[in-house]
C-alpha cells in the first residue's frame, strides 16, 4: 500500500530544477511564465525549486558547450533517482543556430539521457507544461513496467 502511495506521489508532485546552459533567456522567461497566475503550474504540484537534491525533473535550456557540460552532468548526478530530464528549446535539443560553433556540444542528450524534448524557440508555456506531463507519463509507464 505504501508503494502505491509513493507511486501516486511521484506522479502528482514533480519538483523542477531549472538549469540554464547559457540560453538567450527566452526559454527561461517562458519557464517562469508557467509560475504566474495565468498558467499556475503549482495546481499540478509542480514547484520550481532551486536545489537539485530536492528535485525530480531537470529542465535544461540553452546551448550545451564544453565548459558547462561538466556543470550539467554534476547537477544531474546530484539528483536522487527516480528522475527525469526535459530538454527545452531549439538550443537544448540540438544546439540550435549555434550548432556549428566550435565550442558547442550540440544538444543536452550528448551529455545526459533526455526523456522529453520540448521544441520551439522559445517554446510556449503550454508546451512546457505538456512536456512535464509527458515526462510523468514516461515515469508512469516505467513504474507499471516495474510492477
Amino acid at each position: 500500500m505504501l508503494k502505491d502511495w509513493i507511486n501516486k506521489g511521484r506522479l502528482k508532485s514533480p519538483w523542477i530544477v531549472h538549469f540554464d546552459c547559457g540560453s538567450c533567456n527566452g526559454c527561461d522567461i517562458e519557464v517562469l511564465a508557467c509560475l504566474t497566475p495565468i498558467y499556475d503550474v503549482e495546481r499540478f504540484g509542480i514547484i520550481n525549486i532551486g536545489d537539485p537534491k530536492h528535485a525530480d525533473v531537470l529542465l535544461v535550456t540553452g546551448t550545451v558547450n564544453h565548459r558547462n557540460k561538466h556543470v550539467l552532468k554534476n547537477i544531474y548526478d546530484q539528483m536522487p533517482s527516480p528522475k527525469a530530464v526535459i530538454a527545452m528549446g531549439a538550443c537544448g535539443l540540438s544546439g540550435g543556430v549555434f550548432r556549428e560553433a566550435y565550442n558547442v556540444v550540440g544538444g543536452v542528450d550528448k551529455v545526459i539521457p533526455v526523456d522529453v524534448y520540448v521544441r520551439g524557440c522559445p517554446p510556449k508555456p503550454e508546451a512546457i507544461i505538456d512536456g512535464v506531463v509527458l515526462a510523468l507519463e514516461k515515469v508512469k509507464a516505467l513504474l507499471e513496467a516495474a510492477g
Binding site: 505504501l2 502528482k12 503549482e42 532551486g50 536522487p80
Partner: protein, 282 residues
C-alpha cells in the same frame, strides 16, 4: 490512563491534521495570489514521493539529526496532550531545533551553513519570547502545567492579550513565514537554495516535513491555550490566527536577521513587560 490514550492518539493524528493544514495553507496562499492552487492533499503527495526517493546523505550525522528532530517534535505534541509541564515541552522542542541545525552544519555546503547560522539566529529570537509567554501563563494559572491552563474558568486571552501578539511573532518565525523566513522558506524561494534544508534530500526531507507538521500542531496548541473554555471559541481563535499568519506571509517581503532581531525583540519584550506589569498590578 485517559490522558495517555489522548496523547497517543494526538501523536498519530497530528501529522495528518498538520498535513491538511499545510495543504489548506498552500491553497489559500494560491487564492490570495489569484492562482488556482494545488489540491489540499498536495503535501501528502510530496512527502510520499520524497519517501520513495533514493537516499543521498552526506554523512551519518545527518540521519541521526533528522531522527532526533522528528522524535522530539512528536514528543512535544505527546507531552502537550499529556497536559505536561510547559518548560519541559520547551526544552524538548529546543533539542529538536538544535539537532535540525546540527544536521545542516555537519555538511560542507555554504548554503546549508548560511541557512544553519540564520536558523540559529531565528531560534535566538523566538525562544525568549516563548519563555515569556510561558511565564505569563504561569503567573495567571499558578503553575507551568498545560492541564491547569485547560482548567481555567475564563479564557487566558482576557488577561494576556498582548502576550498573544508576542506568541504570534514566535509563531510566524516558527512556521517560517514572511517576513521572518530567513533560514529556509516554505515556498521554495531560491535566495539561499532553501538554506538549512539544502543538504537534506529524499526520505530525510520527508521526515523533516513531517516534523514540521508536528511543530505546527504544537504551536497551534499553544495558541489554543489562550481560549480553553469553549471548543468553538478555540477553533475560531486558531482559524483567525492562522489566516492572519497567511495574510502577513503574503503581504510582506523577507527581511534580514538584524531587522528581525530588532523588531521582534523590541516589540516582543515591550509588549511582554506591559502585559506582565498589568498582571502584577492587577
Amino acid at each position: 490512563m485517559g490522558k495517555l490514550l489522548l496523547a497517543t492518539v494526538a501523536v498519530i493524528l497530528a501529522p495528518i491534521v498538520g498535513g491538511l493544514i499545510a495543504g489548506l495553507d498552500r491553497k489559500i496562499t494560491a487564492r490570495l495570489q489569484s492562482r488556482y492552487g494545488p489540491p489540499i492533499l498536495q503535501p501528502f503527495y510530496d512527502v510520499f514521493k520524497l519517501l520513495g526517493k533514493s537516499p543521498m546523505t552526506m554523512n551519518p550525522w545527518q540521519i541521526l539529526s533528522v531522527w532526533v528532530y522528528l522524535i522530539s517534535s512528536a514528543l512535544t505534541v505527546f507531552l502537550f496532550f499529556m497536559g505536561s509541564d510547559l518548560l519541559l515541552i520547551f526544552f524538548v522542542m529546543t533539542i529538536g531545533a538544535v539537532f535540525f541545525v546540527m544536521g545542516a552544519l555537519s555538511t560542507h555546503s555554504p548554503y546549508a551553513q548560511i541557512g544553519a547560522q540564520r536558523e540559529l539566529v531565528t531560534m535566538l529570537t523566538y525562544e525568549p519570547l516563548i519563555i515569556l509567554v510561558f511565564v505569563a501563563i504561569a503567573m495567571v494559572t499558578g503553575s507551568f502545567k498545560v492541564s491547569d491552563a485547560f482548567g481555567l474558568s475564563k479564557p487566558l486571552l482576557y488577561q494576556l492579550p498582548l502576550m498573544f501578539i508576542v506568541l504570534g511573532y514566535a509563531l510566524t518565525i516558527k512556521l517560517r513565514k514572511s517576513p521572518f523566513d530567513i533560514s529556509a522558506c516554505h515556498h521554495a524561494h531560491q535566495e539561499i537554495v532553501r538554506g538549512v534544508l539544502t543538504e537534506y534530500s529524499g526520505p530525510q526531507l520527508a521526515m523533516i516535513e513531517i516534523a514540521h507538521w508536528y511543530d505546527v500542531i504544537f504551536v497551534l496548541g499553544l495558541c489554543a491555550l489562550f481560549w480553553t473554555t469553549s471548543f468553538w471559541g478555540c477553533v475560531i481563535l486558531l482559524a483567525v490566527t492562522y489566516f492572519a499568519e497567511l495574510l502577513i506571509d503574503n503581504v510582506t517581503a523577507r527581511m534580514n536577521y538584524k531587522w528581525m532581531l530588532k523588531t521582534v525583540w523590541g516589540w516582543g519584550l515591550a509588549l511582554s513587560v506591559l502585559n506582565l506589569l498589568w498582571l502584577y498590578a492587577g
